[in-house]
Symmetry: C2
Subunit: 386 residues, 2 copies
């Protein structure tokens, strides 16, 4: 193809269709920008803007106060000794896996781990042992499963796994496993634990130290109201020299970070939203109440919430047998739910889903939660004779 | 520390001091956002905004037209068979190095390679063989040096290097090596070549196919007026299946991209600026003229431009013996040049430098180029009796 005006006209500025919707997409509810972050985007949007006064290392930049953010407040916020910003939670996980494991080593993952944990392990050349969950409807994890998985790896490969990982909470059911117990089980075997808190850090209180995790991973664009991609990584003192090892070619640069990571507006939106994020984390209890309230309303309508009950996170998974029934009977039924929600200005349940879906109530507040629940009820009613 | 109001007050929205300056920082002149990109930032700033209608793979998203951008126009623009967006040029380089090399393998780099090429190779466990440059003042590269380096690696390690890399142009002197000849030398030995075009792609015409490079790397935030971090990667048909191999755990996800890369406003600003970037690349000749004009004006004042002459890129390196002399005599002299330029609203020469510095005239236009040259002359005059 030629890059002429007609082939280029579809690019340039493009409108975002879903702006202004009530958003219940678990991927997005914790990533909506705060007002300070929106201002920061415009102020720091230019490429390499944060490097105006850089001496060579991103996390050492004093103006803007990236150093203070990364070295003072972020470790406190994550409950860890050393912290960095990365290009995302998955990149944080790869940094740890690639630092701790050699190709052919093993990693133990929970059965609800995000796909990116698998892919990061695969990229690092690690073999994967999965700790099974209990299956439907609760999908719970037995901390002792970590002990059994570690023993299996040791038996099969002659040495313990390089790392264990727990997803806290998982991205399908929003379950919060007993991470403290899991850390203690892993440590009995001398295996370090990475806590994947992509849906926790920035939404709810979580501390690597309180849990006993050696590594904690968070996502700026998923749960810290930052413009992505950006992640955070917290590491304990014991592992910091390994994970943040310096280059032999370029003395100040950290190898796993390729010298610099979030070198732009991403870190400035993370910083811009941070005071509000700290406040909302302190205000987590009402979020849990809202989630439970929403779950109860939907269960009253005949939907079935899977995962932990009572639920302790805004991310929830529902079985919707009645929606599925309707979808089998109406025209283009697979998309009926998406269409009905779109008409009501609600976005976030994947187009094509009716039988099972996940959603998030994070940050909606009681009014919008009722609005969404009412929409579900209206839709049921509209199709009651189908 | 406690995360109380007083410790948090320095975060939130922060002003950017240098906004509105005449910017001559080579890192930044090609990354200034276009107006469509500024609008796109606000429109798509929320975390995971591009995932509104994602079926699981970033580069397959039809709305917004990320698929069309990555699979139709980007390969055409880069002159390659397959393209992807990454988290930056360094991340693109690591993707290729990590795909092609095993730990202990070798890579051949030019002596002017960016530090991130070294660090990426180190992260991938590769040994590095450097093709020497000619030293001051021209720092030129002999393409035959690649042949010699490849032979040395083969002799020492028993097999040819996994990859060769050429920086086009380098980030110190803005030299454009004879990449076509280098590609041909590398291919004689069966070694694939990566062209690091972080300062080329988006500024000047460059095509992997015309050069004969197997891989081409560009930087969105450095040279494509995108908000960072974002990079592009172009790969030839022969290597695409290796570099973009799919995960065995998650069938649609590409391992080296950890599933997804520029999952946010970064890709939307790249797309927003793209039509303008295509136009400015076509308008490269006047940029070269401007650079040469600026170089001539500075040489007339007694500065010495290092690197290729006549110069063919906006990034230029100057020796400034007179500025150095002044800096040794005036109070706080190390910072005198920075202070004088700041007073004249010019930003981009690193604070503390006087004897040698690099700068870029990209996008300044004749008027601002004269303004900067006049500032240099004024400063010389001001201190003529020192």
């Amino acid at each position: 193809m030629t890059l002429d005006d007609s082939s280029l006209q579809k690019f340039g500025f493009i409108k975002r269709e879903t702006l202004g919707s009530v958003n219940i997409d678990p991927l997005q509810t914790g990533g909506l920008l705060t007002d300070p972050a929106k201002k920061a985007l415009v102020e720091w949007g230019d490429g390499y803007s944060v490097c105006d006064f850089c001496g060579g290392v991103l996390d050492q930049i004093k103006k803007p106060p990236i150093y203070d953010f990364i070295h003072q407040v972020l470790p406190e916020f994550l409950g860890c000794d050393e912290a960095r910003v990365t290009n995302g939670a998955r990149e944080s996980k790869f940094v740890v896996m690639h630092s701790l494991g050699k190709a052919g080593d093993w990693i133990v993952l929970d059965g609800l781990a995000h796909y990116s944990s698998y892919v990061a392990a695969e990229r690092a050349g690690l073999n994967i042992k999965v700790v099974p969950h209990s299956g439907s409807p609760e999908y719970s994890l037995d901390p002792e499963g970590y002990g059994r998985a570690i023993e299996e790896v040791t038996k099969e490969s002659g040495k313990p796994p390089a790392l264990a990982l727990i997803t806290y909470p998982d991205g399908s059911y929003g379950n919060l496993p007993d991470a403290r117990k899991i850390a203690s089980v892993c440590h009995e075997y001398g295996v370090p634990l990475l806590l994947n808190g992509a849906y926790a850090v920035g939404r709810m209180p979580v501390s690597a130290k309180e849990i006993g995790a050696d590594f904690i991973v968070g996502s700026g664009h998923k749960s810290m109201s930052a413009s992505g991609p950006i992640g955070v990584l917290g590491v304990s003192e014991a592992y910091a020299p390994v994970v943040f090892r310096k280059s032999k070619h370029s003395k100040v640069k950290e190898v796993e970070l390729l010298g610099c990571t979030a070198r732009g507006a991403t870190v400035m939106t993370l910083i811009a939203s941070f005071p509000d994020v700290v406040k909302r984390v302190r205000n987590w209890d009402p979020e849990v109440e809202n989630a439970r309230r929403f779950s109860a309303m939907l269960e009253d309508m005949g939907f079935i919430q899977n995962g932990q009950k009572p639920h302790s996170h805004d991310l929830m998974f529902f079985e919707a047998p009645r929606f599925f029934e309707i979808s089998e009977k109406v025209k283009n039924g697979r998309y009926f739910l998406y269409r009905e929600l779109k008409e009501r200005n609600i976005h976030g349940i994947k187009s094509g889903l009716t039988k099972y879906f996940k959603l998030s109530t994070f940050g909606l507040g009681r009014e919008k939660i009722e609005f969404v629940a009412d929409a579900f009820e209206e839709i049921l009613k509209k199709y009651e004779n189908v």
